[in-house]
Symmetry: C2
Subunit: 205 residues, 2 copies
């Protein structure tokens, strides 16, 4: 885009760097900020300037936290034998909202993706094996996205964890509850037939 | 959203303040920033902290500019008798891209919107009348959005400008070029029949 001001261009470029924001949307956001009063815009900038310094990570599970140990790891009522491996904090929020899980989490901070140059060493995997070695973990539940990256990461972790005396499971995949069969994508429907489960098992639990 | 960190919450709130960005998208953007290195995120913050101080406006047309007079107002080849009134810089970019206009612009910085509490005094209207009073303007072209706010603003400006010895026009409204009639919305189609123009007039110009 041909902009008449370097400062405007700088601001637009910063927003365009974010995922899902193109240059037109970026310009719209910058113009919105320019209409706000100076304090508001300065505060916007200041919060992001200090972001990396101020955000801490739980030393147990790598979740974002304001204290050295996050509120989930510090909660004595949680089941410490179950460890749910997730990509990031958004997955924790989603799983917590279901109110179906009472164990602990482990945040990888990403998924293995050769396309984006993200390898196992970029993720929080060493601390996971260390945690299992030292801890009370009996089951590791892989709650990763059902994508190529998620599957690759599960495959890698499964190999990493096979020498430990623990169970490794993945969350169930199949037709969504409430989903009408004719609208389910082919791959999911096909896999859900191949990986069918005995009637009692799936409905009665 | 229930977030485990105040700093994370602050950053998410700042992004959610922007138009079209909800709390889920905001969290996604913040997590993206947290994955970048510290310099990148600091620069992101710094650019917005200084934004309001650094961005200047053309003293003639109120367009964003790095110099006191913008490159359009300073261009001696532009036709100084035509003044195109627009909402913001995005409209200038759009009109410049058509390569159909060689006059000057005047940026209002918004539209009159009682719903959002924006009145004539919040817009750059006084400098417009001042500019017409002093200048060589012969025609003012209203290139504002075809919305309630745009129409209200045109109505207000038209009343404001009626004592000047100038022509006031609006950009043509009707069925878009290349548009198939059956898909045109009712209002546009209806108005385009009512405001039909003689054959020569519309096609030969």
């Amino acid at each position: 885009m041909n902009l008449p001001s370097k400062h405007l261009e700088d601001a637009v470029r910063e927003f365009s760097m974010l995922p899902g924001i193109g240059s037109k949307t970026a310009l719209r956001l910058v113009l919105h900020l320019l209409k706000q009063d100076k304090d508001t815009v300065q505060q916007f900038g200041r919060i992001f300037m200090n972001l990396k310094d101020e955000v801490q990570y739980c030393r147990e599970c790598n979740n974002i936290s304001d204290s050295p140990v996050c509120h989930i790891c510090a909660n004595p009522k949680r089941n410490r034998t179950e460890l749910c491996v997730v990509e990031d904090i958004r997955d924790i929020i989603a799983i917590e909202n279901t109110q179906q899980y009472n164990g602990l989490y482990h945040v990888l901070g990403g998924l293995i993706s050769p396309m984006e140059g993200i390898g196992p060493s970029d993720l929080h995997i060493e601390p996971l094996t260390e945690r299992i070695r030292q801890g009370e973990t009996k089951e590791v539940i892989m709650a990763l996205s059902a994508t190529m990256e998620g599957d690759t990461t599960i495959f890698y972790l499964h190999k990493k964890l096979k020498d430990f005396d623990i169970e490794v499971s993945t969350i169930a995949r199949g037709v969504a509850f409430g989903g009408e069969l004719e609208y389910v994508d082919e791959l999911t429907l096909g896999r859900s037939i191949v990986t069918r489960v005995p009637y009692q098992n799936s409905m009665m639990k």
